[in-house]
Amino acid sequence: MAPIISTENLRHLYSEGTPFEHVAIDGINFSAEKGEIIGIIGHTGSGKSTFIQHLNGLLKPTSGRVLFNGEDIFASKAVTREVRFKVGLVFQYPEYQLFEETVYKDIAFGPKNMKLDEEQVDIRVRGAAEFVGVDEELLEKSPFDLSGGQKRRVAIAGVMAMQPDVLILDEPTAGLDPSGRDSIITNIMRYHDATGCTIILVTHSMEEIARSVDRLVVFNKGRIMMDGVPSEVFEHDEELRRVGLSVPEVSLVAKRLRELGLPLDCSVYTVEQAKKALLAMRGGAAGAP
């Protein structure tokens, strides 16, 4: 199957031609299939945000190409604009972009820009609000009267309402409490299951996404350092530690147990998986004579 979105040798320089010139990303070859959930992790300043802003054409690469369904997204202005609606991007701290009088109107901003009719807009706004757990009665409130976590949800709904084929979220859980984090991730997964869209999640924290993603891409100093299923990536815990990232605690425990001689699989990195594997082992041992 052809990838829905891919990049070829993407390279981006900031402040080109000044003393502040700086290579933010270099030689990025990436592709995502339809329906995949991909996690992007990397240390602060590794170029994650720069990279994802290329995927919907907000930043133009210094060199290289971005392909959406096999078509260069910078082919013409019209194509770039079209892609903006197909590739939804939720920025880091998106609550600072809210501006309308009511939550409803703010979520409707994207769909209205798509020139949908009132009825369609209404369906989408209510649908998106439900996905992120924003109650009906909040819709008529001013977005500035909400709590930080609620604002964040509204901002995410604003992008979901455009029903993009690819939904990219830049650190959607930064600065939230653990239960807020969990519920946002759960909401995003529910949205994925309902729509079958591709999800790209950017984060610092392995724990948070290890459970939910199909694939992990590790960024380091503007390049892709690793790309694979989570269990593969967590095998390289030494390397990850060297670039300032941690692996989930459970996968460390599993690794140590493996070293001690227990036949644990390397695909164990969440508490549930560990529990299942250990119980299965005990069951197996008890069954033996």
């Binding site: 903006r84 600072y96 972009q97």
Partner: protein, 267 residues
Amino acid sequence: MLRDVTLGQYFPGDSIVHRLDPRTKLVLTILYIVALFLAVDYFSYALMIVVLAACIIVSKIKLRVILRGVKPLIIIIIITGLLNLFYTKGEPILEFWIFKITLEGIKRAVFMILRIVMLIMGTFLLTYTTSPVALTDGLESLLSPLKKLRFPVHELAMMMSIALRFIPTLVEETDKIMSAQKARGANFETGNLFQRAKALLPLLIPLFISAFRRADELAVAMESRCYNGGEGRTKMKALHMRARDWVALVLGAALLAVMIVMNVYKI
């Protein structure tokens, strides 16, 4: 994008021009501007060009970078040149339709353009080699005699440094909000005047809100550190005039003297 147009950006460096006291540089810039306006003919302009070139070479800032400051004003410069070219009386050397070009016109147009361009380049040299903080410190110190007249010099300087400090932050924020709204399909580039003004709302509202929030936070932060104005306040980086500053000032004064003489004798 946006951040490339910030006026008067500081380029850190370690040249002698960078190391001069900001007060020296401010005074020298004023002397330079006065001298530039005293230039009347070939020799005086040539002298000014040599002086500016020398300063640029010593400052180690690339000519290309300094010329970038001229770019936004190119239209004004061209119009000024053309007006002078066509509206100067004298012996016509070329005539077509209603236009007359005279030798004097050419000369004046060239001088006028030189004057504007050199004015911009000179002031940009100042802002490129002096950090905004140093610049406001220098200004505060130069204006301090006005305190006797109850002129709020310190407050003015504080306001200026806060403003300068927040310009890059606001530019960055504008960039970010603009991108976020574009990601939701906002269109800032096309449409008629009314549509464009309306399209700016999603940008301006969040920007104002965050600016007020920042102002609030900054005020609280300043008050919780007991800031109460300039009285008895000391500086972390106190300004010091050194030998090189006095030499530079003497050279500047000498330049001005020479220019006055040249102006009087029209050379």
